[in-house]
């Protein structure tokens, strides 16, 4: 028979051998004894709560970018990747490019487009993470307030929305371009809540052509995406202003 006094002494590590080992052995096979010990051990709700609350505060801390990056199979900056390829005429491992599934999938969560824009910076034009591929904060704000055909200067380039359309599901979608020093981006994004989800993004290096004419290689894809979205006709200025004002 094991008394509560002995069990408490066991918990406190204050029991002499061989009794310590005997109780340890009994606990391994006697569930009822485990339950008794648990009842004796669980009389310290205050300390348990203090500890839980102290570490729960960690949950609210912002995640370090390096940790987020570690969860991405690869972080690919299109402009940087292209620059690296061009600087290195013979790619080190051309075979890797024959793994489209792996490469593209890694882009799905690790894509940051924007030449010269540091990763994890709020100026990133497009960020892609667990919440989806979407416009960065600066671009999102500009998309929500810039009329089609006019320019907005962003830290990562000059934004020019091309058209606004209403998708079949009611979402407001905008085709836009961003001209950077060494690259141009053309893309289609749809507003969901206060985010602009990227449907299609296409980046081309060195393009200085007027993106408003939108004749880049991404144009066919954007047209195809607009079809897939069952998008209506481009809005006129008045309809667009209304749609932008009403989230």
């Amino acid at each position: 028979m094991i008394s509560d006094t002995e069990l408490l002494a066991f918990l406190n590590g204050a029991l002499a051998e061989p009794r310590m080992s005997e109780i340890e052995a009994a606990l391994a096979v006697d569930e009822a004894l485990v339950a008794r010990l648990e009842a004796l051990a669980n009389n310290s709700a205050a300390v348990d709560q203090s500890v839980a609350a102290a570490f729960d505060a960690v949950l609210a801390e912002p995640l370090p970018p390096a940790l987020l990056a570690a969860a991405s199979p690869a972080v690919v900056d299109l402009a940087a990747a292209r620059a690296a390829r061009e600087a290195n005429a013979a790619p080190r491992s051309p075979i890797r490019w024959w793994q489209p599934a792996a490469l593209a999938a890694s882009l799905a969560i690790g894509l940051v487009i924007g030449a010269g824009v540091p990763r994890g910076n709020s100026d990133a034009l497009i960020i892609a993470d667990a919440a989806g591929t979407r416009a960065g904060p600066t671009l999102a704000a500009a998309l929500a307030s810039t009329r089609s055909g006019t320019d907005a200067r962003l830290p990562g380039g000059v934004l020019r929305p091309v058209i606004s359309v209403r998708a079949g599901n009611g979402e407001l979608c905008r085709q836009f371009g961003v001209q950077q020093d060494q690259a141009a981006l053309s893309a289609l994004a749809c507003r969901r809540g206060d985010q602009w989800q990227i449907v299609v993004a296409s980046s081309s290096a060195g393009s200085r052509s007027d993106y408003a004419q939108a004749a880049g290689p991404g144009e066919a894809a954007i047209t195809a995406a607009l079809d897939a979205l069952a998008a209506g006709d481009p809005m006129d200025a008045e309809a667009e202003a209304k749609a932008l004002a009403r989230p």
Partner: protein, 201 residues
């Protein structure tokens, strides 16, 4: 090969790319592979992993190093992860093993003895008062000052919420030992914190 264009599909699970290869236009559709799916799931679990690592290591810096090592190891072992695996438990096991192994190879660090030396940065949470943040930091410092064998059980049982039995199985030690170490950890924490008025005695 040059990738000219990448489009994210509406389901956000797949995308398509266009590009050229030896001058020929090519198009392919890609579905998110296991590594990407795992990464996406891990990102959702990072706050809990950081919380566990903070309790286990005691400092912000060591905790984030450990969390990062655990995530990297998890991503390298993507083939061992199946949808439906308890990802929390998997990550925590990886983190704990890494911590234990690095302690072994590093010749056990002595536990910190002075709570005031250990003040870590308070968590950033607008809803908590400064007083509460200070007391949180004090509690975390008191946990950090525990011997490692007790601290790992505080991390597993009090912070992560494992049962005594689950902790015993994970550490491969008898359940009585688990309960005894947790009890001694609680007593030590009360001894540290109650006199400072951080916690009701």
């Amino acid at each position: 090969m040059t990738i000219v264009h990448i489009g994210a599909a509406r389901d956000e699970q797949s995308l398509y790319c266009t590009g050229e290869y030896f001058g020929r236009q090519i198009v392919w559709i890609a579905t998110m592979n296991n590594a990407a799916a795992l990464g996406r799931d891990i990102i959702a679990h990072l706050p809990r992993l950081r919380r566990f690592c903070r309790a286990l290591t005691g400092t912000v810096h060591d905790a984030d190093d450990l969390a990062q090592a655990a995530v990297e190891k998890a991503m390298r072992n993507v083939e061992k992860y199946a949808e439906g695996t308890n990802l929390d438990r998997w990550l925590i096991t990886i983190a704990h093993n890494h911590w234990r192994d690095s302690r072994r190879s590093l010749a056990n660090r002595t536990p910190h003895s002075n709570v005031d030396d250990l003040f870590d940065m308070p968590g950033e949470d607008g809803n908590r008062t400064q007083e509460q943040l200070d007391s949180d930091a004090r509690v975390r410092a008191a946990v950090a000052a525990l011997p490692a064998e007790q601290r790992q059980l505080v991390a597993l049982v009090l912070v992560e919420g494992l049962t005594y039995r689950e902790a015993a199985e994970m550490l491969n030690i008898p359940i009585g030992t688990v309960m005894s170490r947790v009890a001694r950890a609680r007593a030590a924490l009360v001894g540290q914190l109650a006199p400072a008025g951080v916690m009701p005695s």
